[in-house]
C-alpha cells in the first residue's frame, strides 16, 4: 500500500503543466525544414527564404562567424543535452499567415484554443501575434492602433517594410558579440514581433505575442523588438508554451527594447514551456532620458531556463523595475537574475527576484548592478527572496555589484525562507493537504508580484501554482 502511494508520488512529480494544457506533440505539416550542422549555407538559405535585404544577410553571417569563434559561456551548464548538429533550425509550418482563427490549420488552432488565446484576445488585447515553430502564423491588431501609426508586425515583415527603422535597433541593443548563443541567435533568428509606437502615443491595452514550439529537437530563435518613441507608452506580453516533446528542443530567443525620451515600456513574460525545452532568453532594454522600462517575468516551465532581463539606464532620470519569479519544482534548473547598468544621472533601479524550489528543484540568482562613473546619485535596490519547500531543493544567490560612482547608493537584501515541519503541520492541522498548504505558502510568497500583473495573467499564474502543487494535477 505504502509502495503504491510512493510510486504514485514519483509519477506525479513528472506531471508537466504545459503537457496538461497542450497534451503531447502532434505532427504538424511543414513546408520547409532545415536541419543538421550549423553552416554558412544554412544561414544563407534562411536569409533567402525570408527574402532579406543584404544588410540583414550580412548581419547573420557576421553573427555566424562570432558563433564559431566565441567560447562556450561558463554559466551555460546543462545545455550539453542538446546535439547542436542534429537539430531542426528552421521549420516553416504549412500555414498561410492568418488574421482570423478559423483560417489556421486545425492542429495549430487547437493549441491556441487550449491556451485560451482567442478569448483573451477578444477581451483584453490590442493585438496578438502567434508564432509557431519558426514562423508567424497569426497576427491581428485592433484598427485604432493602425490609425495612430503603431506598427505591430512579424519581425521579418518589418525587416522588409521598414528596413531603415528596424536597422537602427536590430541587435544594437543586444549585439551578437555578447556571447556565443547571442551570436547563434543572430545567425538563425526567425519569427518574433516588431512593435513601434510613435512619439506621444500611449496604448493602454497590451499587445501579446505567443510562441509555441511544436516539435522535438527544434531550435526556436524568435526575435522581438519593441521601440517606444518619445513619451509613448506600450505594454507587451510574451507567452510561450509547448506540448510534451519526445526529445529536447532549444529556445534561444531575444527581446530588445528601446525606450526613447520619457517613454514607458512594460514587458511581461509568462514562460510555460514543457519540461523538455532548454530555454535561453536574451533580454535587454535601453532607456533614454526620463524613460522607464519594467520587466515582469514569471518563469514556470522548461527543463532549464537562463533568463536575465537587463536594462541600460542610459539617459538621466531614467528608471527600471524588474520583477522575476521562477519556480523550479522537480529536476529542473532556473538560472535567473536581472541586470542593470546605470549610466545616466539620477537613474533608479529596483530588482525583485523571487524563487521557489521544490521536489529537488534548483534556482540560481545571478543579478548584476553596475553603476558607471558619472552616474551621479544613481540608486539601486535589489531584493532576492528564495523559498525552499523541502530538504532536497536548493537556491543559490550570487549577486554582483560593481559601483564606480561614489554618489551612488546600492542596496541589496537577500532572504531565504524554508518551509518548516512546524509550518506544514500547522497548516495541515487546519484541514489543508500538504500540497494545498504549499500552494497557499507559494501564492502568499508571490502575492505582491501577482498584484502587479494584469488580472488575466495573475489568474493564470495563480492557477498554474495551484496546479503545480495539486496532487491530482487537474484544474480546480
Amino acid at each position: 500500500m505504502g509502495d503504491i502511494v510512493e510510486l504514485k508520488r514519483e509519477l506525479l512529480k513528472d506531471v508537466d503543466l504545459a503537457e496538461q494544457l497542450l497534451g503531447r506533440e502532434r505532427p504538424v505539416k511543414t513546408e520547409v525544414e532545415i536541419r543538421g550542422k550549423i553552416t554558412r549555407s544554412m544561414v544563407e538559405e534562411i536569409s533567402r527564404i525570408k527574402k532579406e535585404p543584404d544588410w540583414m544577410r550580412r548581419l547573420r553571417l557576421r553573427s555566424l562567424e562570432l558563433f564559431y569563434k566565441l567560447p562556450w559561456p561558463k554559466w551555460l551548464t546543462g545545455i550539453e543535452v542538446l546535439d547542436l548538429d542534429e537539430m531542426v533550425y528552421y521549420a516553416k509550418p504549412e500555414a498561410e499567415r492568418a488574421s482570423s482563427w478559423d483560417e489556421l490549420p486545425k492542429e495549430i488552432r487547437e493549441y491556441y484554443e487550449k491556451l485560451g488565446l482567442p478569448e483573451l484576445e477578444a477581451r483584453f488585447l490590442a493585438g496578438l501575434v502567434g508564432v509557431f515553430d519558426s514562423e508567424t502564423v497569426y497576427a491581428r491588431i485592433k484598427k485604432y492602433l493602425e490609425e495612430k501609426g503603431v506598427i505591430v508586425l512579424p519581425m521579418e515583415e518589418a525587416v522588409q517594410k521598414y528596413p531603415d527603422l528596424v536597422k537602427q535597433y536590430f541587435m544594437r541593443v543586444f549585439p551578437p558579440s555578447d556571447h556565443k548563443f547571442a551570436a547563434l541567435h543572430g545567425a538563425l533568428w526567425s519569427g518574433g514581433t516588431f512593435i513601434y509606437v510613435p512619439p506621444g502615443v500611449k496604448i493602454r491595452e497590451p499587445i501579446e505575442s505567443f510562441f509555441l514550439i511544436g516539435r522535438s529537437g527544434e531550435g526556436q530563435f524568435e526575435h522581438s523588438l519593441i521601440v517606444a518613441g518619445e513619451g509613448a507608452y506600450v505594454e507587451w506580453i510574451e507567452g510561450c508554451s509547448a506540448p510534451r516533446l519526445s526529445r529536447f528542443s532549444f529556445h534561444d530567443g531575444m527581446v530588445e527594447a528601446y525606450a526613447h525620451r520619457n517613454a514607458t515600456i512594460k514587458i511581461i513574460t509568462v514562460q510555460n514551456w514543457s519540461k523538455d525545452v532548454i530555454n535561453l532568453n536574451n533580454k535587454r532594454a535601453i532607456a533614454e532620458e526620463g524613460a522607464r522600462v519594467d520587466w515582469v517575468e514569471g518563469s514556470i516551465g522548461s527543463k532549464i531556463t537562463y533568463v536575465y532581463p537587463s536594462t541600460i539606464l542610459k539617459g538621466d532620470n531614467s528608471a527600471t523595475r524588474s520583477a522575476v519569479v521562477t519556480i523550479a519544482k522537480g529536476p529542473y534548473l532556473k538560472d535567473s537574475g536581472s541586470k542593470v547598468v546605470h549610466v545616466g544621472k539620477n537613474t533608479r533601479s529596483q530588482i525583485i527576484n523571487k524563487t521557489i524550489s521544490a521536489d529537488g528543484g534548483i534556482n540560481v540568482y545571478r543579478g548584476i548592478v553596475r553603476v558607471v562613473r558619472g552616474a551621479r546619485n544613481a540608486t539601486a535596490n535589489v531584493e532576492c527572496e528564495s523559498l525552499i519547500l523541502d530538504d532536497k531543493s536548493k537556491a543559490h544567490t550570487y549577486p554582483h555589484n560593481q559601483v564606480d560612482e561614489p554618489t551612488a547608493s546600492v542596496n541589496h537584501e537577500a532572504t531565504t525562507g524554508r518551509l518548516t515541519e512546524q509550518q506544514l503541520f500547522y497548516l495541515t492541522s487546519r484541514g489543508l493537504t500538504e500540497d494545498e498548504a504549499k500552494s497557499l505558502i507559494v501564492l502568499g510568497f508571490l502575492e505582491d508580484v501577482l498584484r502587479e500583473l494584469p488580472f488575466e495573467y495573475a489568474t493564470v499564474l495563480t492557477k498554474v501554482v495551484q496546479l503545480e502543487f495539486s496532487e491530482y494535477g487537474a484544474f480546480g
Binding site: 523559498l387 525562507g417 518548516t420 515541519e421 512546524q422 509550518q423 503541520f425 500547522y426 497548516l427 495541515t428 492541522s429 487546519r430 484541514g431 489543508l432 493537504t433 494545498e436 497557499l440 505558502i441 501564492l443 502568499g444 510568497f445 502575492e447 495563480t462 495551484q466 480546480g476
Partner: protein, 258 residues
C-alpha cells in the same frame, strides 16, 4: 462518543513522550490536562492531531468510536478536531485572512480555495476579531509574524471559533494572556461546553479554572497518567505542586485517583 485515547504510547525522535496514556474527552465536557514542563502534554495534543514526526508505538485514538490513528492530520481536522497551539509558528507570506478563507472553503468542500465560497466569512472574521480584542488589521497580517504573545493566543482562538470543530484542544491558551484575555478564553470554553462540544484544555494554572470549572482533570508525569480526578485535583496541584504528587504516588503506588 467523543474523543478517546486508549493505551497510547508514542515517541518523537528517540524519546518516548507518552506511555500507556488513556483518557476521554466527552461532548459537553471540559477535560483539563495538567503536568510539569516536559511531561508530554503538548505531545499528547500533537499525537491526537497526527503530527508526522510523532510515532504511535501502541494504542489507539478514537473519534466517536472510530480509529483516526492512521489518518493524516488534515483529515482529523476535517473530521472535527481543532488544535489551538501553545506556540504557533510564523507563516510568512500567508495572511491570517487567507488562511481563514482557505480552511473555511476547505470545510465547505469548495474547489477553489482562494476565493471565499461563503462570503459571510469575511464579515464574521472581523466581528470575531473585534470581540476577541484583536485589531482588525491583524487579519491582513502574515500569520503570527510579529504577533505579540497574547495576539498569537487570541489568533488561535479566532481560528478555533471560525473552524467550528466538535473537539477543541487548547494547549495553554492562558499562558501570557492578560486578565481580559483570560475571561474571553474562559467564556469561549464555557460556550463550547454549553454547545455540546468536547474540550481538552492543557493548562498550568488553576486561575483559568476559577472561571471554567472542569469536568475532569488528568495529571501527566513523565508521559504517564499520574492522577485523574475532578476540580479538586487541579486545586491540589496548585497548592502542593507536582513533587508532592510524585511522592504520594511513589508511596501509594496507584496512578489513578488521589
Amino acid at each position: 462518543m467523543g474523543l478517546e485515547v486508549v493505551n497510547l504510547t508514542a515517541k518523537v525522535g528517540d524519546k518516548i513522550v507518552l506511555r500507556n496514556v488513556s483518557l476521554k474527552v466527552d461532548y459537553g465536557a471540559v477535560h483539563v490536562i495538567m503536568g510539569p514542563n516536559g511531561s508530554g502534554k503538548s505531545s499528547l495534543a500533537y499525537v491526537i492531531m497526527g503530527r508526522p514526526i510523532y510515532e504511535v508505538l501502541e494504542g489507539d485514538i478514537l473519534l466517536d468510536g472510530e480509529s483516526i490513528k492512521d489518518l493524516p492530520t488534515e483529515e482529523r481536522a476535517l473530521k472535527g478536531i481543532f488544535l489551538a497551539q501553545q506556540d504557533p509558528p510564523q507563516v510568512p507570506g500567508v495572511r491570517l485572512s487567507s488562511l481563514i478563507i482557505t480552511f473555511t472553503n476547505k470545510k465547505l468542500g469548495a474547489k477553489d480555495l482562494t476565493r471565499p465560497k461563503d462570503p459571510s466569512v469575511i464579515k464574521r472574521m472581523y466581528e470575531v476579531a473585534t470581540k476577541l480584542g484583536l485589531p482588525r488589521e491583524i487579519l491582513q497580517r502574515e500569520v503570527n509574524v510579529g504577533f505579540s504573545g497574547g495576539e498569537k493566543k487570541r489568533s488561535e482562538i479566532l481560528q478555533a471559533m471560525l473552524f467550528d470543530a466538535k473537539i477543541v484542544i487548547f494547549d495553554e491558551p492562558d499562558s501570557g494572556l492578560d486578565i481580559d484575555g483570560l475571561r474571553i478564553v474562559a467564556d469561549y470554553i464555557k460556550s463550547l461546553r454549553d454547545a455540546g462540544k468536547g474540550v481538552m484544555l492543557i493548562t498550568h494554572y488553576a486561575r483559568l479554572l476559577n472561571y471554567v470549572k472542569p469536568d475532569k482533570v488528568t495529571v501527566l508525569l513523565d508521559g504517564k497518567v499520574a492522577a485523574t480526578g475532578g476540580p479538586e485535583l487541579a486545586q491540589l496541584v496548585e497548592e502542593k505542586g507536582y513533587a508532592y504528587l510524585r511522592a504520594k504516588i511513589a508511596k501509594g503506588g496507584g496512578s489513578t485517583g488521589v
